[in-house]
């Protein structure tokens, strides 16, 4: 199914809200199904999708809650459409069971979490990066996930496309872990000629055969979408390569858990992305992601002018965790300051993989729910080093 995006999206400079850029990115990626339940600060994604999708023969539906939103997205994916939902913290929590189902059944789909301040209802319009662990560990048992963190309106566009590409390529749910700041920020950004954007389509089986294997391939099995005669059997229960339930033989539990993990681990090198700047001669590396990276980049740019040798490593991929890249930054600099808008999530993972190469310090914002101010970060660096 062609995206049809070129009918409605002009290349060139756009001045848009992050949430709107996300909707445009989805359409460019070929998204043809979007389900939603209203929640701040993600509403603008849905409002724009409800306008855009019918113009490209896509389906927009508002469901009765976030549980059914992600459920219908998974159904749509099996019916052959690229599908997405968007939400924020409370809705993301409700989606967790079915996100686990999507992982287990190897269903490509995209979940946008425009993170807000919590816990519980919290303060809906304020940004926080509190869902990093929920993205990885929110559903029960153990499973791999891919999560990306956009830092700008431009990345709300490009990383939404990337999320779809990864989802389709690896037959897995991908989480775009945005936040209220990036979601509601308006910025200028360039949309290139759409023909220059790489769009990945899912692999489908060549033909129906009785011994076909549609699941549990670490190199990603073809997806037997419905209505094509594959007679697919899709279940969240422990299953074999044909998708048939096998809860009697414990070997299959091991097989499913390992195969799902290997599918992501084996291709980690192709999945993980980070951005680094000034690391080569840096004596300190600021490690950050998402909206907070904007302060870090500013601080690095300013500090360099005054001769402070500070560099930056910005995680674009949060899961699978970029341990190789973080270790490399740790070896180069010996000192890492982790900045995130919470009381310490990614910093735990950084310490786990990099503590033996570098001194790891954590810097939360002055006030949780706000962006770190540049001066506050510079003062911290001066104080500590």
């Amino acid at each position: 199914m062609s995206s049809g995006a070129n009918k409605i999206i002009e290349p060139g400079t756009h001045f848009l809200m992050g949430n709107e850029a996300c909707a445009l990115g989805a359409v460019v990626a070929g998204c043809k199904f979007f389900a939603f339940y209203p929640i701040t600060p993600a509403n603008e994604i849905a409002e724009y999708m409800s306008v855009l999708l019918p113009k490209v023969k896509g389906i927009y539906i508002q469901m009765e809650d976030e549980i059914s939103s992600i459920a219908s997205v998974i159904g749509a994916s099996w019916a052959g459409r690229k599908a997405m939902t968007a939400t924020s913290g409370p809705g993301f929590t409700l989606m967790q069971e079915n996100i686990g189902y999507a992982v287990a059944t190897e269903t490509p789909c995209v979940i946008v979490d425009v993170q807000r301040c919590g816990p519980s209802t919290g303060t809906p319009p304020l940004p926080m990066q509190g869902d990093v662990y929920q993205a990885k560990y929110g559903s029960h048992s153990e499973y791999p996930i891919i999560a990306l963190a956009p830092s700008s309106v431009k990345e709300m566009f490009t990383l939404t496309i990337e999320s779809f590409n990864l989802a389709e390529k690896y037959r897995t749910p991908v989480i775009l872990l945005s936040d209220a700041l990036v979601g509601h920020l308006m910025e200028t950004f360039e949309i290139p000629d759409l023909s220059q954007i790489e769009i990945v389509e899912r692999k489908k089986p060549d033909k129906e055969t009785s011994d076909a294997k549609y699941f549990l391939d670490e190199d990603v099995a073809p997806m037997p979408v419905f209505g094509c005669g594959y007679k697919a059997h899709v279940t969240g229960s422990t299953h074999d390569e044909k998708g048939l339930r096998n809860v009697e033989d414990p070997v299959y539990v091991d097989k499913v858990v390992r195969a799902l993990h290997r599918k992501i681990e084996k291709h980690k090198e192709n999945i993980v992305k980070v951005e680094t700047k000034f690391l080569d001669d840096a004596e300190i590396a600021l490690l950050t992601y998402g909206s907070v990276a904007r302060t870090a980049i500013h601080v690095v740019n300013q500090a360099r002018k005054t001769g402070i040798k500070v560099g930056i490593i910005r995680l674009i991929t949060l899961w699978p965790f970029p341990d190789v890249q973080v270790q490399s930054a740790a070896r180069k600099t010996g000192r890492i300051v982790v900045m995130e808008n919470n009381l310490g999530q990614v910093v735990n993972k950084v310490s786990e993989v990099a503590a033996k190469y570098a001194d790891v310090k954590f810097l939360p914002p002055r006030i949780i729910g706000s962006l770190h101010e540049p001066e506050y970060v510079i003062n911290f660096l001066k104080e500590v080093y």
Binding site: F33, A71, G75, W78, A83, G236, S237, L244
Partner: protein, 276 residues
């Protein structure tokens, strides 16, 4: 397995290697499964153009993995939401949901009434055994008042849902109730539901001799079917009966059969209009 000993409907419609059913002996699910295959066979429908979705619970194993078609066995209570995504995405596919009273009257209750309100073109077969069978006999929102179960050892203090009334009020295009005794009527209703261009709901009161039967003291499935016959009251007749007279009875029949544009068709019309 030697196909000589297999029912012809299974030879034709069962997934290879999936003849063995997971249900307890005497369970009503086999009857419901056969009725569905019979309805499909009589209508000569193409199994490759039907998607069967189900949730969690005994009845969700009716199509999964037995039916040789696309089968989506989902999470507890959510099958109708998954099915909504399937139907909207590919309206050419017929979508049939098998669910139970725990699945769609308790945990998925909202999805049931919302799907009916949306009038999405899905046939929902809800097998009501009035108990949580798979988990070992806990009380359900359909368990009659006073009945003792594993979790109502002193008797059920609550009252059961009338699911057909609920779904009718929510806006379904077709609503019927039968028991596993009324197989001919059930097949006929299923055929109607399969062809309906709106939300169709068939409640099948079914016997659970192992769990429910233990609590009410009837372990013989045949006896349970006879009781179903005895206590069933046709819809037309029930209209003239008082609440007291209907106590302990099962009202059977077709409650709703109307024509109203379904959501998937309405959406296709919108898309055609938008993309002229």
């Amino acid at each position: 397995m030697d196909q000589k000993h297999v029912h012809p409907l299974l030879v034709k419609y069962a997934r290879i290697g999936a003849y063995k059913q997971p249900h307890c002996p005497g369970c009503g699910n086999g009857i419901v499964a056969q009725c569905m295959l019979r309805a499909i066979d009589e209508l000569k429908l193409d199994m490759d153009k039907i998607v069967f979705a189900s949730g969690i619970g005994c009845s969700s194993w009716i199509p999964s993995p037995l039916f040789n078609a696309d089968v989506l066995h989902t999470t507890h209570g959510r099958s109708l939401a998954f099915a909504t995504g399937v139907k909207l995405s590919n309206p050419e596919l017929r979508v049939v949901v098998f669910t139970g009273d725990g699945d769609s009257a308790a945990i998925g209750g909202n999805h049931l009434i919302q799907a009916a309100r949306k009038n999405i073109e899905i046939l929902t077969v809800l097998v009501n055994n009035r108990i949580y069978g798979m988990t070992g006999g806990q009380v359900a929102p359909t368990t009659p008042h006073g009945v003792k179960t594993k979790t109502t050892p002193y008797g059920n203090l609550e009252y059961p849902f009338d699911l057909c009334k609920l779904v009718e009020a929510a806006g379904a295009s077709y609503v019927a109730r039968w028991t596993t005794f009324h197989t001919r009527q059930l097949v006929s209703s299923m055929k109607k539901g399969l062809l309906k261009k709106g939300f169709s709901f068939i409640e099948v009161i079914s016997q659970c001799p192992v769990q429910y039967g233990t609590f009410v003291g009837i372990r013989d499935p045949a006896e349970m079917l006879h009781i179903f016959r005895k206590i069933s009251v046709p819809f037309e007749k029930a209209k003239n009966m008082s609440r007291e007279e209907l106590e302990g009875k099962i009202v059977i029949g077709e409650f709703v059969d109307i024509e109203r544009t379904g959501l998937a068709e309405a959406y296709q019309r919108l898309l055609e209009m938008m993309n002229l």
